[in-house]
Structure formats: C-alpha cells, structure tokens
C-alpha cells in the first residue's frame, strides 16, 4: 500500500500517490429477498476487512435503503463503501449502478420507484426484505417486491446512471438468467459502456473465449455476494482514491491508474 507511482500526465508532471484497492463490487444485504440473514452491515464490513478488502459496493435489487447503514458500519475502518444498486431493466438485464454519494443513488431510486411494478412481496416464495440499521437491527420490512423488472430500458438506464455521474456495469453477463448476452444478444454498440461483470462460475479466459464480443471491455469479476462466504474480492484497482472517476480512469488505464483481476482459487 501507499506505493508512489508517477502520473503520466505530461502537463502536470505531478507525482500522485496511488494506492491499491482490492474490491468486491457486488454485495447484497438482507434487503434483497434472495440474500442470507447474515447479510447485515456489521458482518458485511467485518468479512470484507477479514479477507483484506478496502473497497466494496452495496448493490441490492432495485433498492438502496440499507446503503447508509453499511456506510455507517464501516466508519472509522479502512473499508470504503460505495453506494450502489443492482438495477433490473425492462429487458430483464441486471446492471450494477455505482455512485460516489447516497444523494446520487437516491435520484436513481426515485426513477426506479416510479417504474417498478407495485406488487407485494410474497415472503414465503421470495424471502424477506429487511431494512436494518448499522448494527443490523430490524427497522422495517420493504413491502414491494424488489425482484422484478423496472420499466427503464437498458439504454434509458445507461443514460440516467451516466448523467447522475455513476458507473454502469452490466452484471454477470455470462449468465443465462438476467445476463446481458442472453437477453440482448450482444453489448449495444452505441453506448459507451466502461466495463462488464462476469460471475464467479467462469474464468476470465473462458469468458473471453466463450464470448469473444466482450474481450474488448474491462471485465470485473464478482462473487455476487448473497451469503457471507460468497465474497470473491478479486478486483484490484490502483488509484488515488476510491471514487467513480478514479475507477473509470483505471478501466481506461490512463493517468497511471490500472485495473486487474487477481487470480483466485
């Protein structure tokens, strides 16, 4: 940590201290009906720190109420928590939407709330949707079923997230269920998509071999953490600070920033 890298910006000639961030950018909490009961803020933070991560993103299905609680739970630790959401577009494609601030995320949430069908969750079938505080204490149940498609199209979602200053990463593109490639056939060529996510079930090499069209994109790999042992934490960023702008620079390998997926077993 704390290694000094030379910035390649010719105009400034400034040395910017860059730091290594090891991250898991796809973490669900007990708000997602499919997540385990242990996915409460203090346990998420503890597990992330235990396995040496210093950056995570909280990404519940079409929801964001538990993000502030996880941010609070991480206060005073070395862990940065990015506000995020796993949005489901009208084409049934899942997208990781990551932001710098809860305010930006709340603006996306407003759009989502307007277009997510008002169907009550069937707890027996889908599971509980709990909003909790930073200690994991129950606050209330989210009544509306979160596992559903919004009426935001893939392109509309891309534009909204980008205009809000967020990062738009189609999730687990290799998976048949809710994956970009199965549903939309290929990555829409007109959109300036920064990165794609592959699931834990495939290696980077296999993903590039099986889906040649995704080769030109930076590929993050996530544990799609629904249970505490799902953390993968293989996305390594060398950046100045953990912001969306820095992550974007790392994906583009500019200004000395870089991104790699480290090997795992």
């Amino acid at each position: 940590m704390g290694t000094w890298f030379t910035s390649n910006q010719k105009l400034t000639h400034k040395k910017v201290p860059l730091k290594t961030y090891l991250s898991e950018l796809h973490v669900h909490t007990v708000l997602s009906p499919c997540a385990g009961v242990e996915m409460i803020p203090p346990l998420i933070v503890k597990k992330a720190l235990d396995i040496g991560l210093n950056l995570i993103a909280i990404t519940d299905h079409n929801a964001s109420e538990n993000v502030p609680a996880v941010i609070k739970a991480a206060e005073g630790s070395d862990l940065t928590v990015l506000p995020g959401m796993e949005l489901q577009t009208e084409e049934d494609v899942h997208i990781l939407c990551l932001f710098d601030t809860v305010e930006q995320l709340n603006k996306l949430q407003e759009l989502v709330d307007k277009t997510l069908p008002d169907i009550k969750n069937n707890v027996e079938f889908f599971g509980e949707q709990f909003i909790v505080d930073q200690t994991g204490e129950f606050i209330q149940r989210k009544e509306r079923l979160l596992i559903n498609s919004t009426q935001l199209s893939f392109d509309e979602a891309f534009r909204s997230v980008t205009e809000l200053g967020g990062l738009f990463i189609p999730a687990h593109v290799n998976r048949q269920a809710f994956g970009l490639i199965d549903h939309l056939g290929f990555v829409p060529p007109d959109l300036d998509i920064e990165a794609l996510e592959i699931s834990r079930h495939i290696s980077l090499e296999e993903a590039k071999k099986n889906f040649p069209q995704i080769k030109k994109f930076p590929l993050i790999q996530s544990g799609d953490v629904h249970y505490i042992d799902d953390f993968l934490g293989v996305n390594q960023f060398i950046i100045e600070k953990p912001t969306i702008a820095e992550l974007k620079q790392a994906f583009r390998s500019i200004n000395g920033r870089c991104f790699t997926v480290i090997s795992h077993n």
Partner: protein, 116 residues
C-alpha cells in the same frame, strides 16, 4: 404467404417506412424474447414475434435477413431504433396483443414454425 396478408389480417401497425409489402415473402415464424436464442433459432425470410423493443433487435433482424419483426403488447421502440431499422431496411410492425395471441393468429393463417 406475403407480408401484406399478415399486416392486413392481424391489423398490424407499420412502424417503419411503407413499401409494397405484398412482394415480401414470409416463409416461417419464430418467437423468443431472448436475442441470443433468436440469433440461433430464427430463419431467413421468417417473421419474428417479440416483446423486445431494444435497438439490438434491428441488428439481429439484419443479421438473419428476416422478413419482419412484430413487436407485441404495444412495446414502443425509440426513434433512434426506428431510424436504424429504416436505414438497414428492416420492417418493424406493432401489435397491442401479446406474443401468444399474435402467434395464434399467424398459425390460423397457415404460417408454421421453421421448416427444419
């Protein structure tokens, strides 16, 4: 069967530029909302029934040389998608009915699935 018969019988709205649809042959029908399936399942000169209105449908139809796309449940492709379809000479039609009903009507007209 020609495309004009289908448009008239199913009372379809034409979303792209008008042309002489009676000269366009339709040999088979295919339905899926997963574009990856369509790319391997639909046949040239076939008609594709889908709820999808994302602009990627234009590229898929062009790739497979489809006779037309019927977009169901009044799903509305955006103007950019319609422009792209016109540019690539892809015909997009629209129906308020769901996939199941549109397919039923095509079947009654005598249009069958792919030949293979």
């Amino acid at each position: 069967m020609n495309l004009n018969e289908i448009i008239q019988n199913l009372n379809l709205k034409v979303l792209t530029n008008s042309k002489d649809f009676s000269t366009i042959k339709v040999k088979s029908g295919y339905c899926s909302d997963l574009l990856s399936c369509v790319m391997t399942g639909a046949e040239p000169e076939g008609i594709w029934i889908t709820l999808m209105s994302h602009s990627n449908i234009v590229a898929v139809a062009a790739l497979l040389d489809l006779a037309a796309i019927i977009i169901t449940e009044d799903a509305q492709p955006d103007q950019q998608t319609i422009d792209k379809a016109n540019e690539k000479d892809i015909i997009m039609l629209s129906s308020p009915d769901p996939n199941y009903e549109v397919i039923g009507q095509l079947w009654e007209l005598g249009l069958r699935a792919t030949k293979n």
